[in-house]
């Protein structure tokens, strides 16, 4: 065995382990769902709504566990209560929507933390707050797979309507679509995605999974479908390398995944063709040089005419 082979064997070691493979599969599933939804969230300008949803699910998850019903359902109900409640307050009050949302979701998070402290079983809920791909239980895994299928299926079926709703809700209304229903659909999909992302990275970092892949892909693409594919690809790369790195270096998987996503965004920000900073700088510099050359040529012509 050569040195390279040995090195590769060590590198791929995590993939030969059953629990690591499972963590990776779950990471890829969660990542794909987050990436697809993140495109819609970023384009709709709902980043804060995503953040709110991720914090507002916590009391629901604790109560669902106490009541013995699936965690996803508790999370969905709790987040919808928070978001719809905030919407209701916002319509009847002169405070800005972002402030109302801030009050609502921190209130829900605080309630969740109180409940976590009151309920004796502690280990289980630490997963919610910190997230851990390696520690997903079998029953949870089943719920996540079903949720992922539902979200991706709904986006595939309603792709066109969701795109129109995000781009131009007024047009959606004028051509006879039910925009309230579309808003509710997007809110539900967002909440379900949040529940999935929680498992991977925990409450604090969910917003990264819901925003970063979409932003990276936005800089690289010109159509929504390709944006979703690029976002997914960037997330797969982050999850795969995140799982590998965290195995070898022994640090928190979620943190590594989010860090790599941020790094990929930075690369896109700098080097994206068309929209990247470097590309734009080069383009401006070229244009300036062309202007200068044209001016010199003009001067030449004048001079020749004078002589």
């Amino acid at each position: 065995m050569s040195a390279l082979d040995e090195w590769l064997a060590v590198l791929w070691l995590p993939l030969t382990l059953d629990f690591m493979r499972q963590a990776l599969w779950m990471g890829l599933l969660v990542g794909t769902v987050c990436a697809v939804l993140s495109c819609l969230i970023v384009l709709k300008g709902w980043s804060l709504v995503g953040d709110a949803a991720s914090h507002a699910v916590v009391p629901g998850i604790v109560l669902a566990w106490l009541a013995g019903i699936p965690m996803v359902i508790g999370a969905l109900v709790s987040a919808l209560c928070c978001l719809l409640g905030a919407g209701l307050i916002e319509r009847n009050c002169r405070i800005r929507p972002d402030a109302v949302l801030g009050i609502a979701f921190t209130g829900f998070l605080a309630l969740g933390m109180v409940l976590v402290a009151m309920v004796p079983s502690d280990v289980h809920f630490m997963h919610i707050l910190l997230g851990n791909l390696l520690g997903i239980e079998a029953s949870t895994r089943y719920q996540l797979i079903m949720t992922g299928i539902v979200v991706l299926g709904a986006v595939a079926l309603k792709f066109s309507d969701l795109r129109l709703y995000c781009f131009d809700p007024q047009q959606a209304q004028v051509v006879g679509l039910n925009t309230r229903r579309l808003q509710l659909l997007l809110t539900i999909l967002l909440t379900l995605t949040t529940v999935m992302a929680l498992q991977a990275v925990g409450v604090v970092l969910v917003i990264a999974m819901l925003v970063t892949p979409g932003c990276t892909a936005f800089l690289l693409t010109r159509r929504l479908a390709s944006m979703m594919m690029v976002a997914s690809a960037s997330t797969w790369l982050s999850v795969l390398s995140g799982v590998m790195v965290s195995f070898h270096v022994d640090i928190e998987t979620g943190g590594v995944i989010v860090l790599i996503q941020a790094f990929l965004f930075l690369l896109a920000f700098l080097f994206a063709p068309g929209r990247g900073v470097v590309f734009q700088k080069v383009r401006v510099r070229r244009a300036i040089r062309a202007d200068r050359e044209a001016a010199q040529e003009q001067e030449e012509v004048y001079r020749r005419h004078r002589v």
Binding site: L43, F167, V174, V175, G176, R222
Partner: protein
């Protein structure tokens, strides 16, 4: 844009409509107006006069606090479900960075008429192609919308409204930020649609050329200051009542010469 079968009752029927916003701010007060099929009406008034509130109420974006709006005898929602209304937004209201192509945007005019999976039928494709050909943007089909010039952007959204094939068309400031050539093109299109029986409502700040392409004019300053055929309504007295004296003088000195005869041929039904 639509079949030319006759519709004799008022197509747009706003009766005693008021809008007061939740914060107590008055949008419009007690406005009534009716427009027949195949007519073009300019909706004018100073900033904050409520002309866009009236426009939003007709489009169903804002609910009237009293009164009602009927489109071809139906509620706004019913008319929208039957795709009788098309809307061209202001350029500032559009997210030009959104990753959609020109073709995608024009196809959004057909969204309400596609099957539930939103797969375009042969008819949908034909309507989109015809609308794009009419607005001369066929060769831009695959462009992302942000990569267009101001005039091209306007034409994409006009094509979207055309593709929808509606009976009522509402245009919000169609002449801001377009050159004289595109302006003439849009006016020609509006006249063409009127001849096809479409009722066109235009919110505009460009007062001087109102007589060139409109046959009705509605002047709004919270209440309806004046409404009627351009020939009898677009006058010094009414403009002064809506905008103040100085403004009215400058507008009319430019417009008097441009007033065509056909405007007088139209009368309020």
């Amino acid at each position: 844009m639509s079949n030319s079968h006759q519709y004799d009752d008022p197509v747009v029927d706003v009766s005693r409509t008021s809008v007061r916003y939740p914060d107590g701010h008055l949008g419009i007060r007690d406005i009534s107006l009716t427009l027949p099929a195949g007519s073009v009406c300019a909706l004018i008034g100073p900033n904050g006069s409520g002309k866009s509130t009236l426009c939003k109420t007709i489009l169903g974006f804002t609910r009237p606090t009293s009164g009602r709006v009927r489109l071809m005898g139906m509620t706004v929602r019913q008319a929208q479900k039957r795709n009788l209304v098309a809307y061209v937004p202001q350029a500032e209201d559009v997210d030009w960075q959104f990753p959609v192509s020109v073709w995608d945007v024009v196809m959004m005019g057909r969204q309400g008429q596609m099957n539930w999976l939103r797969i375009p039928s042969a008819t949908d494709r034909r309507c989109v192609e015809e609308a794009m050909a009419r607005m001369e943007i066929t060769d831009l089909a695959r462009r992302q919308i942000g990569m267009l010039s101001g005039g091209q952007k306007k034409r994409v959204f006009l094509a979207r409204a055309l593709a929808q094939g509606s009976r009522v068309l509402v245009l919000d400031e169609p002449f801001t930020g377009v050159d004289a050539h595109t302006e003439q093109g849009i006016m020609g299109l509006i006249r063409g649609l009127r001849d096809e029986g479409v009722t066109v409502l235009i919110v505009t700040h460009a007062l001087s050329n109102v007589p060139q392409y409109c046959d009705h004019v509605a002047m709004v300053s919270q209440q309806l200051v004046a409404f009627g055929p351009v020939a009898t309504t677009f006058t010094q007295r009414h403009l002064a009542a809506t905008f103040g004296d100085v403004m009215a003088d400058t507008v009319l000195s430019g417009a008097e010469t441009a007033t065509p005869e056909r405007a007088s041929a139209w009368s309020l039904s």
